[in-house]
Amino acid sequence: MSAFPVSSPEQGGAPLLSVRALRKTYSLPRGQTLKAVDGVSLDVLPGEVLGLVGESGCGKSTLGRCLLRLTDVSSGQITFEGQDITHLGERALRPLRQRMQMVFQDSYASLNPRRRIGDLLAEPLRVHPGPDGRKRPAAAITARLHELMDLVSLPVTALDRYPHEFSGGQRQRINIARALALSPRLVVADEPVSALDVSVQAQIVNLFADLQAQLGLTYVFVAHDLAVVRQISTRVAVMYLGAVVELGETDDVLHHPAHPYTAALTQAVPRPVVGASRHPPLRGDIPSPVARPSGCRFHTRCPMVQDRCRVEDPALHTVRPGHQVACHFPLAAD
């Protein structure tokens, strides 16, 4: 096992994005530190959808932002398209930003309320030069805006309207269009459907899937809703208190979890089926990331905790091909 175990690059090819031993800590008053991301190593393969799941405070959003260098990391390494971007300055990052974009949860807050949709979508096209290295002509920008509206199934007339004139689902379509304006390779989506109503959520999840197939995109899809993540993801990374505790193919992880936390998490999701068997829920709350438990970070709530778990922090290791877990006593697959 290498120092930083990496998940299955079985599909072959170099990862589009990879992070090694990534840490992000925040200093708090009284000398405390909050370890938001606590040593994460993973690869994002071209064309895959990597789901990042976990409960609030597990660091999934911070990790998502660190991947795109929207938040500076404390230590570790981020490689995008083979280039180390961990310490690149803003100016050097800018050309790369065309190829890595983000979609946020709050569709309203992420659109300037005083600007028309056409303006908002044209902004990235004006800021970044065209493929020939020169400023894009106005006609090219207009043509691209029409293409984008078509991609996200909005009428062209939407370009002349303001964000408040749209419903939440439509606004999220606009945000997606903006993220796609520069034809990125990687899109990090942070809880993009959790603010939407159930009946609208499915439309946007389908849109994400369609766009990925159509444009060959790679997603890092951050969400707390396991069912949504399952629908869209090729692989899933489960996070708990800043660390990835399980990583593997989506249905392998969700249906045959090796980590007791993943098992408890999937069982806790209420199914829209009457009479589905229920399990006793996990006890207690997630510990504060400021005072992370010793040893295994999950041991305070783990139903199968042993003495070793209280002192020794388990490393992420492979239990079966393409499936890694950070647990001393992983559950059997059967």
Partner: protein, 377 residues
């Protein structure tokens, strides 16, 4: 979670031997004035809630579920609001009841918990102080007696170290603990009816499971009925005896939860259930999404409000008035013309998924296998 209620006081239930429901709501309408006309936000909502029953009020944002609850509690005081219809609570009419009499009911007979316990508690007093105050507002107790009751309640709600927690301020508690404290406060006067407005929406799923267990236990431990407002069909399926589906301020469908989930009578219920991505069973290629978005109250169609988004829409759906609730099964009714036309919806295809779910969840049960004991140092 019966072990959470060691010595829980069981509320004497005067209506136990009679069949009268605890709460009977008939044709409740709530309209707000806007631009010189009245906008109906809730239209002709009717339901009954039996003693010790859990009724789920489910709908998307803007469906009128919270407004319904606020109207029942007499908490809507925006100028010009019009509330009509009837809501009988143990035979007493709530609609139009003067605030002074409502105040006597609220807290003592009907209590409410909200989505965000952080904003429902005042940040400047301790949790214990606030629960004591609620108890002393309704009962003649000394501070000491009230605090003793508060600590007992917190303990029964599964709050660890309740005496110390009572001395803490809301911001010092986690979301799950705050919601437990909130439920403790709501139960402090043994209310007959607890209205819970999205009580677990702000919580993580593992904590949500704990709180839902707690709410399910209230009827046996406290004899309380619960009106649970949620947008989450999963929460309804696991918690409620009866379900009422609201769409755009109107009742789309109502019935026993089991029947309603097995064979929805309204295309909206069916489409809503179908659009939820499954966690178990095969993964669908695409989610069967509902096109469009719910109408805003001003642009609500004259006929069935769901008609613009419905697969089964035809001429009969379009003209006013909206289709009335018609029986589609035992105690189940839907506001849809399909069943009267003799073409009811087919049962929901869940058998495969449900059994797969059950088996997967059994396999994954984190019970420590005996071999682990030997491995441990």
């Amino acid at each position: 979670m019966p072990d959470n209620f060691p010595s829980a006081p069981v509320q004497p239930s005067p209506t136990q031997h009679t069949a009268a429901p605890l709460l009977a709501v008939r044709n409740l309408c709530v309209s707000f004035p806007s631009g010189g006309r009245m906008i109906p936000i809730v239209e002709n909502v009717s339901f009954t809630l039996a003693e010790r029953d859990i009724l789920g009020l489910v709908g998307e944002s803007g469906s009128g579920k919270s407004v319904t609850a606020m109207a029942l509690m007499g908490l809507i005081d925006s100028p010009g609001v019009q509330i009509t219809g009837s809501a009988l609570f143990r035979g007493q009419e709530l609609v139009g009841l003067p605030q002074k009499q409502l105040r006597r009911l609220r807290g003592r007979q009907i209590a409410m918990i909200f989505q965000d316990p952080m904003t429902a508690f005042t940040p400047v007093y301790t949790i214990g102080w606030q629960i004591d105050e609620q108890i002393r507002a309704h009962e003649r107790l000394s501070r000491k007696q009230a605090r003793a009751r508060t600590v007992d309640l917190l303990a029964e709600m599964g709050v660890p170290d309740p005496a110390r927690t009572a001395d803490r301020y809301p911001h010092q508690l986690s979301g799950g603990l705050r919601q437990r404290a909130m439920i403790a406060m709501a139960l402090s006067c043994n209310p007959a009816l607890l209205i819970a407005d999205e009580p677990t929406t702000a919580l993580d799923v593992t904590v949500q499971a704990q709180i839902l267990d707690l709410i399910r236990g209230l009827r046996t431990a406290y004899g309380s009925s619960v009106l649970l407002i949620t947008h989450d069909m999963g929460v309804v399926a696991e918690t409620c005896d009866t379900t009422l589906v609201l769409y755009s301020g109107r009742v789309a469908e109502t019935g026993p939860t089991q029947a309603l989930f097995a064979q929805p009578g309204h295309p909206y219920t069916a489409a809503l259930l179908a659009s939820i991505p499954p966690l178990d069973g095969p993964r669908p290629e695409r989610l069967p999404a509902i096109a469009g978005a719910p109408p805003v109250p001003l642009e609500r169609p004259a006929g069935c409000a769901f008609s613009p988004r419905c697969h089964y829409v035809h001429e009969a759906c379009l003209p006013a008035p909206p289709p009335p609730l018609v029986p589609v099964g035992p105690h189940q009714s839907a506001a849809c013309v399909l069943s009267t036309e003799g073409t009811p919806l087919p049962p929901r295809l869940i058998s495969a998924c449900a059994s797969a779910a059950a088996s997967i969840r059994h396999q994954a049960a984190p019970t420590p296998p005996p071999s682990h004991g030997e491995v441990s140092p």
